[in-house]
Amino acid sequence: MLKKYKRDFDQIQELVADTERFFSDQDIDESLRMKVDLSLEELFVNMVNYNTETDQDILIEMRPIKGGLEVSLTDFDVERFDPTLAGDVDVDAPLSDRTPGGLGLYLVLKMADSIHYEYYDRKSRITFTNRIAAGETRQDV
């Protein structure tokens, strides 16, 4: 799948529907859906929120790989921002020290099996993979 999405949170619903269709068409294990949905949303929202100097669409690619899928998001005409270097979150902090925000990229780094960032020609491209764990039984739905 290769598709461009407007820089708008309203695109999330379409992104979810496209992901569901891709999983079905490519017969990808449904147990990966939530992790993929979460990483896709967090990275998409991050691009929309922080790469504000452009109005170009965000390109999303999904490819099947052995045991799962690889997903890439490309943002155009933007400054470098490497989400893999996002600061850690103190999830053990007491309520008084916790503030809303900052969890998105932390969760992506927890959910993805691998994550890779590239920056070239003012393009910011992040690729993540999710695979069913070795020995895990396939979930037929």
């Binding site: 949170f9 979810v16 949303e41 929202v45 309520l95 916790r98 900052g102 969890l103 969760l107």
Partner: protein, 96 residues
Amino acid sequence: MFEIDYNNSGEIVVRGRLDAAQAATAQEFLDAVDGRCVVDMTDLEYISSAGLGVLLRTHKRLMSGEFGLEFINVNKHINDIFRYSGFDKLFVIKTA
């Protein structure tokens, strides 16, 4: 699709997907609640960091009084997200 409302027992019921596009709807509803709040998550399918932010913001406001949010009927996926986020140390959570 996301819905939030009260049930007949006075609990807050959330249904569907609480994502960045729906966070404002959830926040608007929760900004109006007060006192002890039980949130039934039986039909909550998905939550992202935007939804977690809404819950945390509301919990902090309520805890400045006497009570906070309490979650019941939390499914495995949502509970995993709560644990990764450290919410299991901040909220009363009862799994399905």
